[in-house]
Amino acid sequence: MNFIWFHRLGSPPYVYALARRLTPWLAWPAALLILGGLWGGLVLAPPDYQQGDGFRIIYVHAPSAWMSLMVYTTMAAAAAVGLIWRIKVAHAVAAACAPIGASFTVAALVTGSLWGQPMWGTYWQWDPRLTSELVLLFLYLGYMGLRAGIEDTQRADRASAVLAVVGVVNVPVIHYSVTWWNSLHQAPSVMRLARPSMPAAMLVPLLLMLLGFTLLFGALLLVRLRAEILARERANAWLKEALAR
């Protein structure tokens, strides 16, 4: 087996150049998918038989919630790789994830609240799903606060990585909260083993949105990763060439 490609992913100049090259290939498809999902979700999808047009909040709520979990999982995995193999680039990936994840967690919580008021009759309940998602926001904020509080980047990387890895237990709790406990929140309708419980006209825009948000995360991560790498490389010689382009 040839693992050279894997070793290259630990090399800051290589990853920096790769990130720059890949960004547009993720950003433009993301924009197209999200616009397509927006059109499909707001215009083409029929109103729900119970929730009428109110169900259309799903097209922004579910992708935001998906982002909040996917970004955290990515962050924790990168932090674990950074801790175990002491790879600087992995810590840079983890650090780049946090602000993206935190902002989409806010979007998931607020859009969920705006959906809860007309459908459940309340903006907020201390319900397992809602509470565990709020804990996720505090994990992101704690991670960013911890990093901001430690000046030495290497120490900040290691301390915040421990927090990220420990906090990952919350991810399955959020996902399964609606099945483990009685929750106001509805059960999964797409992310489940059986077939999605939605007709295609409703499902396809949602899938476009989910894929679009995922690619958007990739693009945002690559841009932020370059910033994180630059900050970690101090005044290394390769920066001169990288910045000249």
Partner: protein, 53 residues
């Protein structure tokens, strides 16, 4: 058009949800680009400082 904007009576919940989510997307694009621009600027300054000494 009016019917579309009314969202079957859910306009007060649907539109703010969409507005917030797209604001978060726009802010993320802006923040990421600003972070990169600042990091590039700082790296250039470090390189210049090293070159002088």
């Amino acid at each position: 058009m009016k019917e579309f904007l009314d969202m079957g009576g859910y306009a007060a919940f649907v539109w703010p949800s969409y507005a917030l989510t797209f604001a978060v997307i726009a802010l993320n694009v802006f923040w990421a680009r600003r972070a990169l621009a600042r990091a590039e600027e700082a790296a250039r300054r470090r390189l210049a400082a090293r070159g002088e000494s």
